[in-house]
Amino acid sequence: MRRNQVAVVGAAETTELGIIPTMSQIQLHADAALNAIADAGLKLSDIDGFATAVETPQQICHYLGITPTWVDGTSVGGCSFMLHVRHAAAAIEAGLCKTVLITHAESGKSMIGKQPRSIAPDSLQGQFEAPFGVYGPPSMFPIPVLRYMKTYGITHEQLAMVAVVQREWAAKNPRAMMKDPITVDDVLNSRMIAYPFRLLQCCLVTDGGGALILTSADRAKDFPQKPVYILGTGESVETPMVSQMETFNSSRAFKVAGPLAFKEAGISHADVDHLMIYDAFAHLPLFGLGDLGFMPHAETGPFIAAGHTRPGGKLPLNTNGGGLSYMHSGMYGMYALQESVRQMRGIAPAQVPGAKISVCHGVGGMFAASGTIIFTNER
């Protein structure tokens, strides 16, 4: 895909984040969509392309009153929205539509109007994983961690520092769910969830949503907000079964999507001013730093423990506080994208001064899928 041909011209989260007992899941979609439409200075009737995940495009388009000529219902987990951005950029460039709305929302905590996730007993997961006691992401996502730690010499303290550093960022974000400072000891003494991970190394469970509006870069200058251009993109999938990953020392989906985005963007790692790596659990930033090529995997733990990703560090990472401290409604990728857009607009609560390039990397399922978007505010 050609660089900087498409831009984000509208971006917003739901009016509230956290615990929202007053709205169903589809209303959370609508709330985020209406906020993004207002942010872009558009009307709903201006939208001719639409993408969403979990909920179907027909569900949300009907609810909002949109008649699209291009739809994308890609639903590969929490990074679906990175894939939507990539697909939307291609569709806009190909002339299939002009103005795309992407929505995410999940009543993850209040569970209003949300179908519970279930595993069919005759699916491969139902036959070859569920009978062995996996029960939700905390019992599955950390399964590779002990192997990764042994291979690369990563320590429990380094993995605890991921949560400590992200809480430092969250403290700067008024909308973050968890803002009180924590220490490595606090993390290592918090309730055990699935060894080696404890409560403070697992994401929050909240309600909320977000929406993005994309259009061609040529049109973007006529919109009220500072355009944020799509510089590079990548995507891939591996397996819905964490037990069947090629290796626990790396994520194949990360290793395909990340480098693809860097190549498309034509940038080097030294060019990156701001980085988001979807952190459903504390090991994901380490996998991300390694698989996206920022450093060898063995250096990721020491790099974070040394403070290089904290406020004032040389590689600001997960500056909203991440899924560990900002919010996590179940599919956090949209919130990572929102933070990248805020940073590129220069309006983030914990703004990285002068940031020009932001890398936003998402995961879907338990390393099942991946999407990477590289943004810039310069064309």
Binding site: P131, Y135, P144, A194, F248
Partner: protein, 137 residues
């Protein structure tokens, strides 16, 4: 109220041989007749070269502990926490998820790369699960 039961696998036409195997006390894998690739989970073609000529064979049942978590909460129905959810690297190459029996469910007892061997546990009259225990000798 009925006691919550462990999730029960429901075989499909492509996986029936695997579940027939565990019921007969065998861990069955598949090998490609064209390229010799050994793979899991079951399917009637080779995911490496796409050949439909594949054979079912009895695996040795030997493997090593590749990685695991010790799940504390929330516990799956039919499980008493803490319990280990393990991924076993089989001698023949493929990995599969299982539980480790005959061994404390602690980080001290569960050492990565420890030798394991398959054991079978009947869930009901139709389904037997392949579990693993520390290898003897």
């Amino acid at each position: 109220m009925a006691e919550a039961k462990r999730a029960r696998p429901k075989p499909t036409p492509e996986t029936q041989h695997f579940w027939d195997g565990t019921k007969a006390g065998e861990l069955r894998l598949q090998r490609c007749d064209a390229c010799a690739h050994v793979y899991f989970p079951p399917r009637p073609f080779c995911p490496s070269c796409a050949s439909r000529k594949v054979s079912v064979f009895k695996a040795s049942g030997k493997g090593t502990l590749y990685s695991y978590v010790i799940n504390h909460r929330p516990a799956a129905p039919g499980f008493t926490p803490p319990y280990a959810i393990a991924v076993v690297a089989l001698e023949e190459g493929p990995r599969l998820m299982s539980n480790i029996t005959g061994c404390p469910q602690t980080p001290e007892a569960l050492e990565l790369d420890m030798a394991l061997e398959v054991t079978f546990e009947a869930l009901d009259e139709q389904i037997t699960l392949p579990l693993f225990r520390p290898a003897k000798g």
